[in-house]
């Protein structure tokens, strides 16, 4: 009972202070449940779902380009297709920080792992994929959609397409002429490329349908469940978002992503830069936003926390410009820490007792 009175007094005092403070017309509203819900819905509709849509769209663009390349089989087509792969890699990195819901709806076979085999445990399956592509190209199995849908995660996804597209099988030559020659001399390499590409499209489509139409047969889209705070595991949607991004940052710093991911295409830095753009937009809003998490934190008196996080981003940007992997991982670790402290505190969200401080 004493605690109840104490809480009531605190709430009353807070209301009084708010009233005495003298609000201005353009001030963002304080972090009430309604304002948090509004900010969250804008994050979903202006950052996460556009990332879902872009990845699906870019996968289809890549798939069409792959089909066109396999008809013409020339250097110009390869150059265009490699450029589409880079775009697809950026799209993926914009989406991967939000690794929950349709991206991660199966504990044993999580969909994200079939797109990005490095993400589950930071293991580069480059040699496995190289051997498998060589076997597909030299083998006699029928390389159709049904066949590729049965393949394990570590032989699929962006890495497999990257290897098929950016180097030759025998000598790992990255010369476009050599790569085109190889495609021209063995039609099964194109069948492999197209088969891998179609699986990427199907994965992206499934993620898109989960967010937009229906999730796991529950009669509602994941967007609807997420914004309705009706997640199956009982977690709060905002906590799910913050935890997912924090875990992604942990992955970026500990798994040396800038040196291990997209290495053959030499496209790690632009890819991680896209991820950082996405996370920053999630916090500070986009040009369409009416309310952002940063604005709510400032309105709640957490200006210093926002400044800390903004400084984290500045350091990350600097490391990306100079392609300094060590500084990048240090800066990402600091942002990771902000997602454990400043941001949940500033938004007054509970990540869980045991989660933060278990025994």
């Amino acid at each position: 009972m004493n605690n109840f009175f104490r809480s009531s007094i605190n709430i009353a005092a807070l209301l009084l202070l708010t009233a005495c403070g003298g609000s201005r017309e353009n001030d963002p509203p304080p972090a009430t449940e309604d304002s948090l819900n509004l900010a969250l819905s804008e994050v979903v509709d202006q950052t996460i779902i556009p990332a879902v849509d872009a990845f699906y769209s870019d996968s289809r663009v890549f798939d069409s380009a792959a089909a066109e390349f396999c008809v013409a089989l020339d250097a110009a087509g390869l150059t265009a297709l490699q450029s589409h792969w880079r775009g697809l890699s950026e799209s993926w990195f914009r989406l991967l920080p939000y690794n929950f819901g349709p991206l991660d709806d199966d504990l044993i076979f999580p969909p994200y792992s079939f797109i990005d085999s490095y993400r589950p445990r930071g293991r580069a399956y480059t040699e496995t994929v190289r051997e498998q592509i060589a076997a597909w190209v030299s083998g006699s199995m029928i390389l159709n959609t049904a066949y590729f849908s049965e393949q394990p995660f570590n032989k699929m996804g962006l890495l497999a397409v990257e290897i098929a597209l950016f180097e030759t099988i025998d000598t790992q030559s990255q010369s476009r002429a050599d790569i085109v020659d190889e495609f021209q001399s063995n039609g099964r390499k194109c069948e492999t490329l197209v088969g891998l590409s179609k699986q990427l499209v199907l994965r992206a489509q499934s993620i898109s349908e989960g967010w937009h139409i229906v999730f796991q047969g529950k009669g509602a889209s994941y967007r609807s469940l997420f914004l309705g705070n009706q997640l199956e595991d009982g977690s709060e949607s905002l906590a799910t978002l913050i935890t997912a991004v924090q875990q992604y940052l942990d992955y970026l710093s500990k798994r040396h992503v800038v040196s291990a991911s997209a290495a053959i295409a030499d496209y790690a830095w632009p890819s991680v830069s896209a991820a950082v753009d996405s996370i920053e937009a999630m916090l500070q809003g986009t040009e369409k936003s009416s309310l952002s998490f940063f604005a709510l934190m400032k309105a709640g008196g957490y200006e210093a926390s926002v400044e800390t996080v903004e400084n984290n981003f500045k350091m990350i940007r600097s490391s990306i410009v100079f392609e300094d992997a060590l500084q990048f991982e240090v800066a990402i670790s600091q942002l990771d820490g902000s997602f454990k402290r400043e941001i949940p505190n500033g938004l007054e969200v509970e990540l869980g007792v045991n989660f933060t401080d278990g025994d």
């Binding site: 869980g352 045991n354 278990g358």
Partner: protein, 390 residues
């Protein structure tokens, strides 16, 4: 035979008193329990430490089939809770490491009836268990400076210290009495902490965790086992009726030089090597290097392992080690078996309780409960009491 550091006279006195208690209470306990059970209608409760801050730390009990909820405040964050075998309407809640207090709570009146403080230069590790006759309380404790692990024996009525044993390791955490009633099994976590530095681990480079069996009367070391991964800390355990011990571990990943998936749970039988639960990889990995509690259902030979950092509880058969399934549940850590053994009961830090049928591990959603304003802590137990008002 292992003796405590106490001088032999005190040790002999303590041991004699301890053994006397054994025989006296062995005579009285069955009679008391019988009277207790036939006179009253029974009601099941879920009991756990709870709270997020000093203002509301305490213990709470939620009616298993009712909305009844009782709360007891304490000045410290609790961890393990055990039912008093002689006074079954009372439970003992022990402070979370590095803590100094234990409180005896009367459940019908929701009041603290007794408390004790551990000795100077010692701290509690959060768990305890009672002797077979209920006369002795064993608590896992550590010496403040050396980190040496101790099993401290207390009179279960007065909580006076009777004796102490070497735990034969550092950082003893959960301990239980084996079905033979004469053996203690202790999870020596291997982690040395000091209250001055909070929960910071001081010996990560040299940590050594063991599963240790001790003679409950003398403290003699009977058997000790280790897992292959040196940075895996054995912290929680449960014991099946046939003596099979299931263990739950936490990994000190920051100090490891590889990123491989490492087993977080295992099964052990006396005299045999530890059998690690390694499959499926994806499930072990999803537990994020951390299991916070474990419980065995004897009827189905199924063990549950709760991973709050993985937001899931996963289940394996304890004989075949076959993976049986998992339940996604945010920040889930409390885990016990219902009194009728038909359900696993899960709790989380948002005050939620869910029940899964053991036979198929499906959740019965209609049995969901949520205690507003409560934050269930790591461990949950099931207690059956005479029916009482809310």
């Amino acid at each position: 035979m292992q003796y405590s550091k106490f001088n032999s006279a005190i040790a002999l006195f303590s041991r004699r008193r301890f053994l006397t208690g054994f025989s006296a209470l062995a005579l009285t306990l069955p009679f008391s329990a019988k009277v207790f059970s036939v006179q009253t209608k029974q009601q099941e409760w879920w009991v756990s430490a709870q709270g997020r801050d000093k203002d509301n730390y305490g213990l709470a009990m939620q009616g298993a089939r009712t909305s009844s909820l009782k709360r007891v405040h304490s000045s410290f964050r609790g961890h393990g809770v055990i039912q008093h075998p002689i006074k079954p309407n009372k439970v003992l809640m022990l402070a979370r490491r590095p803590g100094r207090y234990g409180v005896e709570v009367d459940l019908p009146s929701a009041a603290v009836k007794k408390h004790f403080t551990c000795a100077p230069q010692r701290f509690l590790q959060g768990h305890g268990c009672f002797s077979k006759d209920g006369s002795v309380l064993y608590t896992s404790e550590s010496e403040l400076h050396s980190g040496k692990g101790l099993i401290v024996l207390r009179d279960s009525l007065s909580y006076e210290v009777l004796d102490e044993f070497d735990s034969h390791g550092v950082g003893p955490h959960e301990l239980k009495l084996m079905p033979d009633g004469q053996t203690l099994v202790v999870a020596n976590g291997g982690l040395h902490t000091h209250p001055d530095s909070g929960r910071t681990v001081l010996n990560l480079a040299t940590m050594r965790s063991t599963l240790t069996y001790l003679d409950a009367r003398t403290g003699a070391l009977l058997e000790q086992q280790q897992v292959p991964e040196a940075k895996a800390s054995i912290r929680h355990l449960d014991v099946a009726h046939d003596g099979t011990v299931v263990i739950a571990m936490q990994l000190q990943r920051a100090t490891m030089d590889h990123s491989n998936v490492v087993a977080l749970s295992a099964v052990h039988r006396r005299g045999a090597p530890i059998r690690l639960v390694t499959k499926p990889d994806a499930v072990v990995e999803a537990m994020n290097d951390y299991i916070g509690s474990t419980a065995v259902n004897n009827q189905y030979r199924v063990a549950g392992f709760a991973s709050p950092r993985g937001n899931l509880v996963a289940f394996w058969h304890i004989d075949t080690l076959r993976f049986l399934g998992y339940h996604a549940f945010h920040d889930a850590c409390g885990l016990t078996v219902s009194a009728d053994a038909t359900h696993f009961v899960l709790s989380n830090s948002r005050g939620e309780i869910r029940q899964l049928r053991v036979e198929d591990l499906e959740e019965e959603r209609c049995l969901r409960q949520q205690a507003s304003g409560l934050n269930w802590d790591n461990h949950l137990i099931s207690i059956t009491l005479p029916e009482m008002g809310a």
